[in-house]
Assembly symmetry: D2
Homo-oligomer: 365 residues x 4
């Protein structure tokens, strides 16, 4: 069983392995008439690409995205207009250093997909994790770049809110800070704490988990469906599909379990301009599966990478007991680079539901 497409009308199919010649995606269902330049997509890939600080993998990839179909070029040779046909995007793999990973071709890293892949398929591209490498998410980020263009006025932003036990102070939340530090932290005060903490992790060859929060503003009210294909359900599904994600929350999430009905209710009043105002947003912008017009808020937990220097007990493909330690480049905290990936997933879910509601036609509208 393999299934590499998501979305119902805005449909994204990704392909590619860590150490193949390239990876990419096909974005199908994009409405005609969207205008953009390559740099409008590249900006998101740059945010995700490896090697940007000492806290992420040192693999060097430019992650330059190419658009192979689905657009017409303006005379300026830069501006593209979507034609409504599938947009194929390709990103070449350039820094592959296969040798680093050679020795784990037959050993199963505990907590890694190595074991289940081999079990299921009987064959596995072990080079750099093959299909299970986080490199696959570069294609998602490219697709998210298109998705952001589909819904007029929507803004999807993510931030890291927790590394290990160290959580941000929400009173310090400042979106402008997110681009100012290597962690996508919205809280400037926690940055030195995280730096010191992660340096320790990194030097020990260890790894640690994290929590990412994604907020989508400008989401039109009324997107989603009542029972299945709820907007929150589809967001949860896509966030859970990101490598290493083990939990997803909408709005106040698990805190809702500890909250009374009185406190959890997002009270409403009519605003002076005749539009409803919510006095709180415990619901995370979604009620009964349908967007309220408030910001859509989702969080997800990323486990620590299983590629660590410390020996762990495991088995190999021959059924022998082995002790595994992973040399080579890895992320001390894969949660950091999950921020732009989470944004892309939320953007895609919103674009899909937007098209379900508004239709996909160009001139007919």
């Amino acid at each position: 069983m393999s299934h590499n497409t998501f979305g119902h009308l805005f449909r994204v199919t990704t392909w590619g392995e860590s150490h193949g010649p390239a990876l990419g995606c096909v974005v199908d269902g994009c409405p005609p008439g969207l205008r953009f330049k390559l740099e409008d997509l590249q900006v998101w890939l740059d945010k995700r690409k490896p090697g940007q600080s000492r806290f992420v993998t040192q693999r060097r990839e430019d992650d330059l995205v190419k658009v192979l179909s689905g657009v017409m070029l303006d005379a300026d040779g830069e501006t593209m207009t979507s034609t409504g046909t599938p947009i194929s995007m390709l990103i070449e793999n350039t820094d592959q250093r296969s040798k680093d990973y050679g020795e784990i071709a037959r050993q199963y890293r505990p907590g890694h997909a190595d074991f289940t892949y081999d079990l299921k398929y009987g064959i596995r591209d072990y080079r750099g994790g093959g299909r299970s490498s986080a490199r696959e998410t570069a294609a998602r980020v490219a697709a998210g770049g298109i998705a952001r263009l589909v819904v007029p006025g929507v803004t999807v932003r993510g931030a890291l809110v927790q590394i290990g036990k160290h959580k941000i102070d929400r009173r310090n939340w400042d979106w402008d800070q997110v681009g100012q530090n290597p962690f996508f932290s919205p809280d400037a005060a926690i940055v030195p704490v995280w730096e010191e903490y992660l340096d320790g992790i990194r030097k020990a060859g260890s790894s640690i988990g994290a929590v990412v929060e994604v907020v989508a503003e400008g989401v039109p009210a009324g997107l989603g469906a009542p029972i299945y294909a709820k907007l929150d359900q589809d967001i949860a599904s896509l966030l859970m599909s990101i490598n290493a994600v083990k939990g997803v929350e909408i709005g106040n999430g698990f805190a809702a379990a500890e909250t009374s009905g009185e406190d959890n209710a997002d009270e409403m009043r009519m605003g002076n301009d005749g539009t409803p105002i919510f006095l709180s947003n415990n619901a995370g912008g979604i009620l009964g599966g349908i967007s309220t017009g408030q910001p859509v808020v989702a969080r997800f937990a990323v486990k620590p990478t299983s590629s660590i220097l410390t020996e762990r007990q495991s088995i190999d493909a021959d059924g022998k007991n082995v002790d595994v330690r992973t040399k080579g480049r890895h992320d001390p905290c894969v949660g950091i680079r999950a921020v732009p990936i989470g944004e892309a997933m939320v953007a895609c879910a919103i674009a899909d539901h937007y098209l379900r509601d508004r239709g996909q036609t160009g001139r007919l509208k």
Copy 2:
């Protein structure tokens, strides 16, 4: 946009409102040759049905399930054999007491789907919550009864592990206790605590959230997919589609964010019988989207019901400010009855992936 089907090969379509003549579902993709009696399905519906204790809604429904198609009856008039064609099941609504809800036909309960439904569709069946009523989940539980039959040897069990801030003591976990108390608690010691706590909530006309844990044992290794349509992704999607669910975890979930790579790794050794043994199960039985053979463990947070006696600020369909309080029958803790629903969703996800892997043929196998 409306979408009331889930599953790719084991496909479930539900229909029906709280106050219509009936509700039900069509289970499509069920393999031929499964043998069962009506009571094998009814037992799960009985577990979910309302009115079984003072801690859940007092609505009285027998929730008797009928099978209208997809089976051949034995000469005994009881035993059914699936034929591979769609199984249509129907549950009549009998206790509808529309008057209780009449006054909220035009008022939006804060935190409820009332507002978004009206916004989206411009028409809403306000009687008992219409389609957004938890009654819809009776159909899911019936479908889950079929799903349990699909995968040989699988056992899917749920338990309530938290009400408000009161969590069970996991050292007391005893599956046998789950059927002995009105909360599906696996910890006998917490039952009197929860009773007293919920009596207070109930008498105050208030409500409170909860956390449910579902464990599936006997899941064959190798179910799932690497990137999208991961087993954990599909479980998260279905759990998040349950009314009032705001968060989902697999394995150690959000706790993974606070865990080091060394501690999070589920180490492995070869067992004496030649099968791999995991020394822990932080992964919740799923690695890289594919089942490991360990128990699959999922948790979800259920928010407090928004139907409470205390007045809350809101608006109505005419855009007027109103103060809303909900009279009538409601659940002080909807999380309790979510236990069998969560089980059903996990069972359906596993059945779907089982068929993707093994195929759906009868004699050809």
Copy 3:
């Protein structure tokens, strides 16, 4: 493998066997706000129901459709308004006379699905053909009744244009004639020919094939998709899914193979009102998978029923050679009753593409 749903946004799931208690369907994706009475659906079921002339099966079924969900009733107790939630419809089986079919429980009628069903599923509801009975199409016709309401101004009409070698004279085409004879013939002149011909067939216990033509007028230009999910592709798919259909044509169909590019081109001129006018309709209203605004024209060939009185060589479930003849009630020309079924399928395909283009929202628009 079983799959009983069609459509992408306007989704229809059918269920039920010939000799079960009932059959029905769930229509999902219907927009809110459609207003209709039960008789608006029943009229199409009446057109399809058996026993209306000596030229179709003598099974007696009232085929009364019930709506179980998805609508709100007006105070008049008759007028329904769709709410955007799934519409579940049910039709009871009343005239089942199982004995007629008992003897073929283990014999395979040549040309019938008996053999392949048993082969695939290892179990088969042999009573009246079980799931392969044309009774399943009653549910399709009910769904088609809803589909007709979805697209404003669309009219979908079918006619029988050929029985055996006897084709209508197209110069006599008069839609008003279709309801005036037991064959849905648009050509009054051929009716006595067909009557005499079919009486011979019927008395001999034989059967004969037919060709049905469906024309949809008022289809908005621009429905469909360029490569896959073409409007003509989806129509072909649904027509081919009708029992006994062996061929499908769009526009001039197979005649196009004998036509030159000059003759096949549908030339265009601008009309006085500023809308394009086509000077012919060889394309059948669809170019490149997308509707042109011209009438959509489809035809399909229905093979003769395989239930005949004459003995044919066959085998049974034990692998023995047998000679099979089918007693009981059957259609000398199943193509006749395929007319309203074909209409329903075309209506559903158009409704699905209409929603893909225009979206499914109510008030948001």
Copy 4:
């Protein structure tokens, strides 16, 4: 609305325009462990590629296929093994000569998708037909090459059986002839007739339709589904999705309308080896949507290309009346190159149903 994926478990997504840098497809759901070389795919592309005789378009494309993902290379650098992850394939466009088509950027060729594309999307890649170009089918043929590997023992072959009114003599059918003439004709005797006929068409700048027949041998019995997702339905859907196809038949197709139940029945006897033998194959190898084990036989009608030298009346994008003639390279009979495309579509449908029945697992089986 755009939808560029087909298949349920064996899923193919195509992308690309006639005059973009490349076109390609992603084949998802391919089982692991298939072994092949690039030449095993290239052979089918070579069969389809343009410029191979004077009877097809003179565009020169090598149509060399590259495999970008989803395989592991053997040490020989040639043999690939599928890993179960998506196989991305790419074909570069090399001979684009945009000037030929420049003048029709705003004129609508009668019978061509120009008009409906512009109407629907408001923007159209007019260069070489853009997405509606038959070049898209190169990607289908590559996907079909993979599909052929999925089902052990299956052989899918096509032949041209009619050009204009000139049909082959079926008594002369010889598969070995198909590769010996530029028409894929199985009847050597008709080759000179077609040559002379098509030379006339070609010199007149005209075009003509054709009929293609595809036969799949070695299809396991039991593939398909009873009601929807029938094997014949899915074949019809895919064949109808090929550019310019206006009709599809299974088995004796439209001839079934003229046949009696006695003559149409495919009688059966048990063979000496204990397997059932069919005495004829009017059904085309499919009964009730499910394969019988006999050869699957499908035919489709291809209309004449609408790009002709003779002036036809039309309109342009400004709503002006124009007279259109198409200069540049075109196919006098596009039906010829449709032969390998039809094969690919049938192979994909069979592979999809094979996986639905047998599952997609590797080692688990």
